[in-house]
Symmetry: C2
Subunit: 398 residues, 2 copies
């Protein structure tokens, strides 16, 4: 064998593999991370999870350490079904759930099962950058609908649905984050939710409701979820423990009509979602979920307030930003003429990370906005980071 | 909204989604499961994993419970790199590893990155049914090479490679399980391994070496791995903790040249492999790996011996079976004229599960063989199950 020869992989890659989406600057390496939607590390229930693990392994360890059920651990699915029935009035039981490795994986499965290359899907713009990346890798045709301050623009949406119908095509789904939207923090009010569902039924297009943050409401009236409003089975919902327990557990789920769940299972080739972690999480959540979510709401409300207050004090004229009623994010429109490139450089220098708006659009827009996450840093870091950011915006101004 | 209307998903599915492969009968529900390659539940280190979890959460819990590194936890990758350097002479470090949700997920990523619909790949026949299913879902053109008693038939392989070259096509990879093969338990000897690598280099076709069982050798001389023999970077290797620690942890990995690893990362959309479980596993393995593997070898050797002895005593004339030097499986050729359908019915009645050979071929063959796993049941159950199986074979005979 030729010992020195290098093997060439050239030409072996399938066209499917696309470049990764632009990632936020300094999601890891910065001194103050306002980029990543990472949960607050001080809030993790360390001792309780160790104790839950001990109990799970002592009581039913063999089941936790061997291959599990295809749909995921029944105990977790039952617990979740009860929660969604109680909190959202959803008509679901355990078999409406497929447990996944986080909700990013849940979305990937939905896209892999439904979307072939060139198939149209509809999403909000801006939207979650992980979704942008997933749609790109699957080579979907992504049709965007602008986000108004009260959520997806229904006129634009109907125009697209109507046009597709004329062309005898159909979108595979409408992807929406109606509650504490990522990246804007905005929430869609009830009348809009009802009308969105009507359109979905009228045009035979399912809705994928991504809802990672809905439990974390600081103020205002809870809005019924699309899943809860839906009586026809047109809503596929994605959820996760990442924001209400811990992202490192990598547990999410798809909720869908039973006859549909099997299709997602067909493209799920990972030997079943982690039975060990699923049991540990269920063990913890069974006892602590409601109280823990209550604590988290206090944690994130304080952090949001710190960011909003600091923006109010230091943001240069021309900045506009959202006031989220829950979740992790503030969306900040930069003053006209601000250079996003220059702003990124300045923030890299002073060690403050943010997510450029361009990562949140599938279509090259977003030069005029950034996403700020108040979830990970301490209140002191949020104050300092936001102040430094405002200073950098001033310097990057036109 | 029309409350009684059912939403129709008809026509919304992408052509990619294929029916799942035939699953082994009774992998879960049977009284004595000789079907699934599930590890021995008595061997799991329950208390040690609880203790490892406690230590991880107390010492570096924030990192374990938040999003992790794209390639996977560096501590696990370093530990694995050291193991592969030591045991296989592989020229690898931590950045040659991508941690995945088990090795089924590892194979899925390789296939998603490399294989488009209709692209040719080459695999052994019979082979692991999970691979058969994965290739089917990605709609690859699967070209099979017969397995001789010493592994893949190299003449057939070269014929295929030559024919593809004439047609100006190239297989995306050669998928092989050279050590304690699944489903046959057979091992490829060194000269064949060397020649396989030569062919891979000559035809510019990488080898995917799946090696879930290599550590579990009961007898005979260890064979160098393809990864260890490869100096050119033509081998992509898949590994897992499923058989040496616990399948329920869902941890596997891809080993590949550094310039190649990034391509797999591009189609990995799951928010990173579980940092919590990765740290718990690394914590346990750092201290216990070698001793635990030593114990497992004794466990599975005893179980293999129980199955082989019972087959020797009860198998009807015309049965032939492999004698694995390691791993989980015995491959049993049925006497001519045996009805696999009848055998399945009889075993369903007496509560003994096995894997039909048909699940292990991508091309409809396998009516004449079954896979038996001795990994999960107790020694007593193996004796009883194998005896009942032999009786059923007799009854299902021609």
């Amino acid at each position: 064998m030729a010992e020195d020869r290098r093997f060439s992989y050239e030409g072996l890659w399938a066209p499917k593999a696309a470049r990764p989406a632009v990632r936020g600057r300094g999601a890891g390496g910065t001194r103050i991370d306002l980029a990543g939607g990472r949960p607050d590390p001080a809030s993790f229930p360390y001792a309780e999870l160790a104790e839950a693990t001990r109990r799970v392994l002592a009581r039913d360890g063999a089941a936790a350490l061997n291959y599990g059920e295809p749909l995921g651990f029944i105990g977790l699915r039952e617990l979740l079904a009860e929660k969604y029935r109680r909190d959202e009035g959803a008509r679901v039981d355990a078999d409406n759930f497929l447990i996944t490795n986080g909700s990013a994986h849940a979305l990937q499965l939905v896209v892999e099962a439904l979307v072939g290359p060139g198939d149209p899907i509809i999403c909000e713009a801006p939207t979650w950058m992980g979704a942008v990346h997933t749609f790109r890798v699957q080579r979907a045709e992504v049709l965007t609908v602008d986000l108004d301050t009260d959520g997806i623009n229904l006129d634009q949406l109907e125009d697209i649905l109507r046009r597709l119908k004329r062309e005898r095509r159909q979108a595979k789904f409408i992807y929406t984050i109606p509650t504490f939207q990522n990246p804007t923090g905005l929430t869609m009010p009830l009348p809009k939710r009802r009308r969105l569902l009507e359109l979905a039924l009228e045009y035979g297009t399912p809705i994928v409701e991504d809802d990672a943050y809905g439990d974390l409401r600081f103020e205002g009236e809870p809005q019924p979820s699309l899943l809860g409003l839906d009586a026809a089975g047109a809503v596929i919902k994605l959820g996760t423990v990442s924001k209400i327990l811990a992202a490192g557990l990598r547990l999410g789920w798809i909720i869908a009509p039973k006859e549909v769940i099997g299709h997602f299972l067909t493209v799920k080739l990972d030997g079943g979602t982690n039975p060990f972690v699923s049991r540990v999480a269920a063990e913890y959540l069974r006892e602590h979920m409601d109280a823990h979510i209550g604590e988290l709401i206090e944690v994130y409300r304080r952090k949001r307030d710190a960011m909003l207050t600091t923006l109010g004090e230091y943001a240069p004229q021309g900045c506009r930003w959202t006031r989220p009623e829950g979740g992790f994010f503030v969306w900040l429109k930069l003053p006209a003429g601000t250079s996003l490139g220059r702003l990124s450089e300045l923030c890299a220098q002073n060690g403050v990370g943010f997510m450029p708006g361009t990562a949140c659009y599938p279509d090259g827009r977003g030069e005029d906005a950034i996403r700020l996450a108040y979830s990970f840093p301490t209140v002191e870091e949020i104050r300092e980071g936001t102040r430094l950011l405002c200073e950098a915006i001033r310097q990057a101004g036109g």
